[in-house]
Symmetry: T
């Protein structure tokens, strides 16, 4: 694996239901345009509130992928 070079990009997923769902949605979207996605790191978890309830979660990730 050595001598590989990776790139990291920062994305934000959102979901009405859970933190995991927001992460999955962000990774699914990233995989449409990026190949060789390898790992993710959660940077920040926040969300919006409407009428005293969670409207959606917003999770900021860094995703790493191998450059070919």
């Amino acid at each position: 694996m050595s001598d590989n070079v990776y790139k990291k990009t920062e994305i934000v997923g959102s979901s009405k239901t859970s933190i995991e769902d927001a992460i999955e949605g962000a990774i699914a979207r990233a995989s449409k345009t990026l190949k060789n996605l390898d790992w993710f790191e959660v940077i920040d978890t926040r969300g919006h509130i409407e009428d005293g309830k969670i409207a959606h979660y917003q999770v900021t990730l860094k995703v790493g992928f191998r450059l070919e």
Copy 2:
């Protein structure tokens, strides 16, 4: 939206079941006394252990609300 002023307050929710449930409980409690709750930011996630199992999650949030 410009020229609005918001206030942020720090609360800690707890739940036996999940991180999301702790967040929801904290926001539900905050909405009893604060109007115009707009967003939340997760600051810290921790919890207590009893008999080698998670007794409850404790999630520290900042919640932002618009001042009228």
Copy 3:
């Protein structure tokens, strides 16, 4: 000055024109309900973009005031 106790509260000001204007607006609003405001600390500077231009700045402050 010793033996005084201060409280810090976190507020967010917004302005279409400048960072300083957002700070001033937040402090002016805080001074309506809090007495003895003494200092502020800038925590975060961000803002929204519309049509490729800054719609408004949002500056998060902590403001400290003396408890009587």
Copy 4:
């Protein structure tokens, strides 16, 4: 204890004699207006100097209390 919600507030105590005395003074003052104080966290320790000597310590705390 689970399902409780706590609030955290940031206060600054000062004392001519010691860090512990500044913490105690801040908590004593907070307990006049807040019920159910449960824990504190030291955020920052600083102070003022006069004539080459410590005039007073200033200790910033977060104090947590249970909401009823």
Copy 5:
């Protein structure tokens, strides 16, 4: 409770399904060799991606336990 001494150790749990499941697995494993586990703190949440989907979550915790 005063005058107790605690030790904190850092562990990483992994799970295919959720962040909570990774935390629970790490604590269950730690409880096999450590007595008096008392609390945990989430330090970092990350994971691996395979074929554009989350292969597993990896959650780094500090767990605290009382020394006898």
Copy 6:
């Protein structure tokens, strides 16, 4: 707004006159190649000095934009 995915990219603007002007220049440049710019976050403010005066400000931003 939920279920949207955003991307964040890091840019550095510079200006001889002010921090706000450096931010505006960076966002104007980013808007030439990126659609749906939505928000910015100031990460770092620095600059160069020539002959004891500020030659220019350099402001590092993260800008967020919605992926379509």
Copy 7:
């Protein structure tokens, strides 16, 4: 001293009286089972409150010791 290897472990001491007393108690306990203790670093200072007074201080330390 070069070419030595050290290990650091994280402990939490508590005391009803002072921050220094909590540090001393934690180090005294650690020295029962660890040899060659060489230095400590204060990571966090907090504590519990009962009846509006400090019940005890809790100080988190890293202690370093030389491996033989």
Copy 8:
């Protein structure tokens, strides 16, 4: 430029009017006694409040200069 050595010193400028003015004042003062000032980094922005208005901004900078 390589093999040069630089020194960084930390200064605090203040101004009644703006953040930029506080930075400029600090650099102008530093340039009276230091040669080869090359860059600055903003570390902290705060200020004092009097009668509910900003009395002055205080901006902490690191300034770097080449050693001869």
Copy 9:
């Protein structure tokens, strides 16, 4: 140089031999697709271990380049 806009991207280089070699490899790879590379910042240094020895270093960098 003023009024230029720069972009920063995050990459990870790896090497069996040294930290510097990992940095050089990452920059060499980045220069294949990015023009006007101007500076780098080391964000994180880590690596993998096999059979009790370093298998390779992994160094995370931010690289800055001027936008034309």
Copy 10:
């Protein structure tokens, strides 16, 4: 007070007895060569251990003083 410029310098005091004593010693030493000392900020608290006991505390401070 506005339009003053301050300088901050970093010093480390040590004491066999307490954190406060280490701070006082450092400030007393600094006041021998620096005029107009105005405030201090505690940056780090650590110390050395000998024979399982605290040999001395080491407290790192920033001290601020007004430039004339």
Copy 11:
């Protein structure tokens, strides 16, 4: 790989010659008593100076290993 649990421990290596040599020495020492060492993270790099020259580097690492 999922459902594994890892432990991280913090060690400090030292070397007269280089940062890499200090890392290698720390890992070689750790591998004497720990099985399944998997990765390391550099936390801090420092060292001692004697007669105006580097006496030795000291590099603090976290090393992760799989629990069986």
Copy 12:
């Protein structure tokens, strides 16, 4: 060693060849004007790129020295 007071100053070394060489150069330069240099801490590692290659490393250090 107790009751000594140390000062820390921040310097930046540069080198075309390696991180260690940049550290050594900075310390050699500092030792020309400062006595009793005792330790260093690496704060930041960065550098410049020319023609897709590292032009030089820039390493920011804090160096500590005993005041007499």
